[in-house]
């Protein structure tokens, strides 16, 4: 959809939603729900419970603050992702605080829970994504979640293919560092 057309369409929908029109809201919701959920699930490294919680909070925030959305600044989906990114930062910050609290009922003799280990790895990955520079996260998402070819990313971002490849390399390195040294890393949580 051409930019002008999108801006006009979303302006109309915004006015209708501000007046309380449920059909307009439903149109927006149906259009954006799947893409937003895919984004949130990626940022939660596949942890569905966390993704469900963040997705719900994102939509509730959006419907309350729709007066702040300006279609000329970007698309509705882009705005939603911005809200989701902020909620994700707060979410993982809370998770980190919970992990730092002593486990009252922890039994060191209990057999290892492997599903717990997988969850812990996923949480570390999600936290690492949150700590990445937004541009690094965006290029990793474009390449690996959206399966966009490097030349298509370059076209969309108005960059050269070489610049995108170089950015991808730096993003992967930053991802490794954030994973190994980040706030959820084993070094931080081991006694």
């Amino acid at each position: 959809m051409a930019r002008d057309e999108r801006v006009w369409r979303e302006r109309g929908l915004r006015q209708a939603v501000l007046a309380g029109d449920e059909r307009a809201w439903r149109a927006w919701y149906d259009h954006a729900f799947a893409d937003l959920y895919a984004y949130v699930l990626w940022r939660c490294a596949g942890l569905r419970d966390d993704a469900d919680e963040v997705a719900q909070e994102t939509w509730l925030t959006a419907v309350r603050r729709v007066c702040d959305f300006d279609p000329a600044q970007g698309s509705f989906l882009g705005w939603l992702k911005g809200i989701a990114a902020q909620i994700l930062r707060n979410h993982w910050r809370r998770q980190r605080r919970r992990r730092a609290e002593p486990l009252a009922n922890h039994d060191p003799a209990a057999p290892e829970d492997t599903s717990g280990e997988e969850q812990e790895v996923a949480q570390r990955i999600a936290a690492a994504l949150t700590e990445l520079d937004p541009r690094h996260e965006a290029v990793l998402r474009a390449k690996y979640l959206e399966q966009t070819a490097v030349r298509d990313i370059a076209l969309a971002w108005n960059e050269s293919a070489k610049a995108v490849e170089s950015l991808l390399t730096r993003a992967r390195q930053a991802f490794r560092v954030a994973y190994e040294q980040g706030s959820f890393s084993k070094q931080e949580t081991q006694p």
Binding site: Y29, L41, D52, L60, V63, C67
Partner: protein, 176 residues
Amino acid sequence: MSDLLPDPLEDFLHGSFDRAADERLRQSVLEKTSRVLRRRRLLRKLSFAAALAACFVAGVAVGSRLLETSPGVPAPVHAVLPEKEVESTPAVPVGNEAVAHEWKAFDAQQDRAEIYFEAGRKYLRENQDYDSALRCYRQALDFASADALAVSADDDWLLITLKQARRKDNQNANLN
């Protein structure tokens, strides 16, 4: 430096997981957000109704006082006009300036707001016809620019009340 990431990261980047949301989540979030919209719609209706009720009560209160304190005032001329949502057409009792002004506003191509304001003032001061004054003031505010919502020293009590209610309505619409 090797670009190969530790296994969990490579597994995450190159792996795939089912991205589809649970349909129950989708429906549940839709219902919750729709509820917020319904509350917003109800609040708008209630605030508009409250503003109209306030205008009506104020009009009746002041009107009865005026009638008590003004001996020999002729009975108010109530023009019988069909109700229309957007525009109403005034009836034409002979010699009634307020009605003539309202007709003029109805037919005007320019300065409609001003002429409606004048018609409203005449209905109120000359005829004590509060219903017609309210109608004309509402039309005037619909046609006037945003600046016209500012209260001025020449405004009568009815117009002041309507302007305040309209401004509050606009603020509520912006907040939501």
